[in-house]
């Protein structure tokens, strides 16, 4: 293992993490809901739950307009995407189906579940970080 000091951004990562934590704290403290993006989006896609869906839609709109709000004050950071179109499509299907089957993703299990010390969420987080690391190893180093 070699740390990539050229790309490691500890301060902005930690500050951004605190903002994410505050957002999750706000949602549980005021709305009594878990800030799990896959659960919120997947729930909103069950169109029958109309009353439950109001808060979900408001949360999703806030999330979607965030780059626009950021762009009012600062230039958006440049991003690098190396995956081709078919890879992106396959990845989206796996992330969508897998996060619903596993009842959560990086936000619901990784942040909220870990923060509330849930064994279930910690097991899920270790599992997806491991399978993500194995996938990147197979793609990059074999």
């Amino acid at each position: 293992m070699q740390i990539d000091f050229a790309h490691f951004t500890p301060v902005s990562a930690f500050v951004g993490g605190i903002l994410i934590g505050l957002a999750a704290a706000m949602l549980i403290l005021f709305n009594g809901r878990i800030a799990g993006i896959s659960g919120i989006l997947g729930g909103a896609l069950r169109f029958s739950e109309t009353r439950q869906n109001q808060w979900r839609l408001f949360f999703l709109i806030g999330l979607i307009v965030s780059p626009w709000a950021y762009g009012l004050f600062l230039a958006l950071p440049t991003v690098k995407i190396h995956t081709g179109t078919w890879g992106i499509i396959l990845a989206g299907l796996l992330v969508g189906y897998g996060s619903r089957l596993g009842s959560g993703c990086t936000s619901g299990h990784g942040v909220c579940g870990t923060a509330r010390l849930s064994r279930r969420s910690m097991a899920a987080t270790l599992t997806f970080i491991s399978s993500g690391m194995i996938t990147v190893y197979l793609l990059r180093h074999l």
Binding site: G32, L63, V79, G113
Partner: protein, 134 residues
């Protein structure tokens, strides 16, 4: 009132993802690439978020109420079962493949690239497939 707070929470969540660099798939893959040039940033994002979240969840776990006196919906499942682990494993494969998970994908929809749009449409299809079968 709670709807406005829900909107602000989503907005703040997205800003946190952008500030932390997590809307850049190369940075996410850099964290997962432990045997190559490893970028530990994502670990610090989680540490910051979990640190703040810990105190909020500890409070709600004790009171079972929101600060506005409403019922708080905390997950009740305790059991580490097969769907949890299988779903997490599939999710991780997709995450490693493209470097996107649901939050950063949605927080990149209006950023100008086409890939997050394709990813999100495909992710929605995966979720609808799950909803149809469960």
């Amino acid at each position: 009132m709670t709807l406005l707070l829900s909107f602000i929470s989503g907005l703040m969540f997205g800003l946190g993802l952008i500030v932390s660099g997590m809307t850049n798939p190369a940075k996410v893959i850099g964290f997962l690439d432990v045997t190559g040039q490893w970028d530990p940033s994502l670990g610090l994002v989680m540490a910051g978020a979990v640190l703040v979240g810990f105190f909020a969840f500890r409070h709600v776990k004790q009171t079972h109420k929101t600060l506005l006196g409403e019922v708080a919906h905390l997950p009740t499942g305790q059991h580490i079962d097969r769907p949890l682990l299988a779903g997490a494993a599939l999710f991780g494969i997709g995450w490693g493949l493209a470097g996107y998970c649901p939050g950063p994908a949605l927080a990149s929809l209006l950023a100008g690239e086409i890939q997050p749009v394709i990813f999100t449409l495909s992710m929605v299809a995966g979720m609808l497939l799950f909803n149809r079968t469960h």
